[in-house]
């Protein structure tokens, strides 16, 4: 392959590589609460808050990009606190529903906010995000989660996930941990939103719908939620899949849209039924199976 065709290949797929990084961040934002056993689906709303906050700053002030990103992470994190306090008391599905509702309320709020052009959103945002920033952010998030895992906090989270009442009796402040994870998740989603807004030139409420957070959940689950890097694997796999499918689909004569949706659904179903700990657990399983074969 010549240098020029490599460069063209790069230009064509650079947005895909960027989306893998962004989707990885988003998947991690869902993972933070899953790691202590809570299913929070408000992340699309948090992403919207981060995206809008950062976009408004860029368009109306001369703030430097790092500051803009910080604001993008901080805005939803702050909102997550008053949200989490009443809502984290709820169990399982009820928490999920409450957070879905919250996410939708945020979206509707932005649809009706004239200051940001309502449903039309903000356009012509200068492209300040590049691949290095995205992957630096992703790397930073992974680092933080890695440090948490091995620490006492990590064990506490694990305990809460396994059996919350038991963890409480052991003296673990479950409420504080759950809230912290919600806030961390909100910050990650907001950061991703800010990066996304400065990559795609625009923010619009339709980007932050319920469907978006379902996508994030799918990345996390398919990748695996028992290890901190699992969600990123899921994001990478499911972001690349449509590109691969596009080639296959056009040859087989199937519409790309339905095919992608179908494969997403099928992959999720197979994972949840047969590989509940996601792609990340695959090496472990294969290793065990091989060991089992040898042990005969």
């Amino acid at each position: 392959m010549s240098a020029e065709s490599l460069r063209d290949l790069w230009l064509t797929y650079q947005s895909t590589v960027a989306f893998i990084g962004l989707n990885g961040l988003l998947a991690l934002s869902v993972y933070t609460t899953l790691s202590c056993g809570q299913l929070s689906l408000a992340q699309a709303g948090f992403m919207a808050l981060g995206a809008y906050a950062s976009a408004v700053l860029t368009l109306h002030t001369q703030a430097p990009f790092p500051l803009v990103l910080l604001a993008g992470a901080a805005a939803p994190a702050l909102v997550a606190i008053p949200l989490g306090l009443p809502v984290l008391r709820l169990k399982g599905v009820f928490l999920a529903i409450a957070t879905i509702g919250f996410g939708e309320v945020i979206r509707i709020f932005f649809v009706n906010l004239d200051f940001t052009n309502g449903a039309l959103g903000l356009v012509a945002i200068p492209q300040r995000t590049g691949l290095p920033v995205i992957y630096a952010a992703l790397g930073g998030a992974l680092f933080v989660l890695w440090r948490i895992r091995g620490s006492r906090a990590g064990y506490a989270l694990e305990a809460i996930r396994e059996d919350e009442p038991a963890a409480r009796t052991m003296g673990i402040d479950a409420s504080a941990y759950k809230l912290s994870m919600l806030v961390l998740g909100a910050a990650l989603a907001g950061l991703a939103g800010a990066l996304d807004a400065h990559f795609n030139f625009m923010v619009a409420p339709s980007n932050y719908s319920f469907g978006r957070v379902v996508d994030m959940l799918v990345y996390a689950v398919v990748g695996g939620t028992t290890v901190f890097y699992g969600p990123v694997l899921g994001a990478a796999f499911l972001t690349l899949l449509p590109e691969v499918l596009r080639e296959v689909g056009s040859r087989v004569g199937l519409q790309p849209g339905p095919l992608r949706l179908f494969v997403n659904g099928l992959v999720l179903l197979l994972v949840i039924l047969f590989l509940p700990n996601g792609i990340a657990s695959l090496p472990g399983r294969l290793r065990r199976r091989r060991a089992g074969a040898h042990a005969a």
């Binding site: 056993g37 299913l39 009443p86 809502v87 984290l88 008391r89 709820l90 169990k91 399982g92 599905v93 009820f94 999920a96 529903i97 409450a98 879905i100 509702g101 919250f102 939708e104 309320v105 509707i108 709020f109 649809v111 009706n112 919350e164 319920f210 469907g211 379902v214 959940l217 799918v218 689950v221 199937l254 519409q255 849209g257 339905p258 095919l259 949706l261 179908f262 997403n264 659904g265 099928l266 999720l268 179903l269 949840i272 039924l273 509940p276």
Partner: protein, 292 residues
């Protein structure tokens, strides 16, 4: 004013019908079946195909589509929920599994029918209108409200007075106890899914007729409103779902009339939120362990 009440009751009856199936499965299995809206959508298409291609009259196509919905529900239960039964996190993994089924069904619909909005051919339901005071009610709207109320009545009867109903309630209380008492839990759960999905299918066909549009994404908004309805009504409560459905319909319509349409969707979620924060069991839900 009278017209808006009619609009509200009409919208509400569809919400109520949709929510009935939703809340039934939750009451029995403790799982939120997010594939419900896909069955809603798919069976609207089934009815559409029966009318368009086989030229069946609506009063034949409707029950056929409803039965088809029940069958799809059985399939969904078998594929996506039963294998997860023993797991400890079965309500979250069940939720995710139902999302997967919904995505697959929606993809199927997109591939088979395309993304465009379709409508039932004109004249498939009688077009007459009645005038009540200053309100205009179409015959179709009256029929839909009647069917919703009728199905609620039948469902309540089944649950309270029949053997199946008793078994369903037993399983809802405690599957282990029910099994000990000799109830075939798997069969009962399958039956609940059949009923639930049949209700969803009915809601779908009526929705398609009521608003003259059938499209692969028609379940999405109803699904989210449906969440608000079952929370307001109380998870697992049939009468709660019905009352909440009508209430939400009226609330939405009057919000539009008095405050403007921008706030229409926010009302549903606002209600959802307030209920979850202040009275998680909703209007008629059991005061069971809803809090962590």
């Amino acid at each position: 004013m009278g017209q808006q009440i009619v609009n509200g009751l009409f919208l509400g009856s569809i919400y109520a019908l949709f929510a009935l199936g939703y809340t039934l499965v939750f009451g029995v299995l403790d799982i939120l079946n997010l594939a419900h809206q896909a069955v809603f959508m798919l069976c609207a298409y089934v009815a559409l195909l029966l009318v368009l291609h086989l030229h069946l009259p609506m009063f034949v196509a409707f029950p056929v589509a409803v039965a088809a919905g029940g069958l799809v529900g059985l399939a969904v239960e078998r594929i996506a929920f039963r294998p997860l039964r023993g797991r400890s996190d079965s309500n979250i993994s069940g939720l995710i599994s139902s999302i997967a089924m919904a995505t697959i069904l929606e993809a199927l619909a997109l591939q088979l029918f395309g993304p465009d909005v379709e409508r039932f051919p004109f004249g498939v339901v009688p077009d007459r209108t009645l005038h009540l005071g200053d309100a205009v009610v179409s015959e179709l709207q009256v029929v839909i409200i009647a069917i919703a109320l009728g199905m609620l009545a039948v469902l309540t009867f089944v649950l309270k007075r029949t053997v199946l109903g008793r078994r369903i309630r037993a399983v809802a209380e405690s599957p282990t106890a029910a099994r000990v008492l000799g109830v075939n839990v798997d069969r009962v759960i399958a039956a609940s899914f059949f009923v639930s999905s049949a209700l969803g299918a009915a809601a779908g066909v009526l929705f398609g007729l009521a608003f003259n549009s059938v499209s692969p994404d028609m379940g999405r908004t109803v699904e989210l409103k449906g969440l608000a309805v079952i929370i307001l009504g109380g998870m697992g409560s049939m009468p709660g779902a019905a009352i909440a459905g009508f209430a939400l319909g009226l609330l939405e319509v009057f919000t539009v009339a008095k405050l403007g349409s921008s706030y229409r969707d926010a009302v549903a979620f606002g209600v959802l939120f307030l209920v979850l924060v202040f009275r998680p069991r909703g209007l008629l839900g059991a005061a069971a362990l809803r809090e962590a």
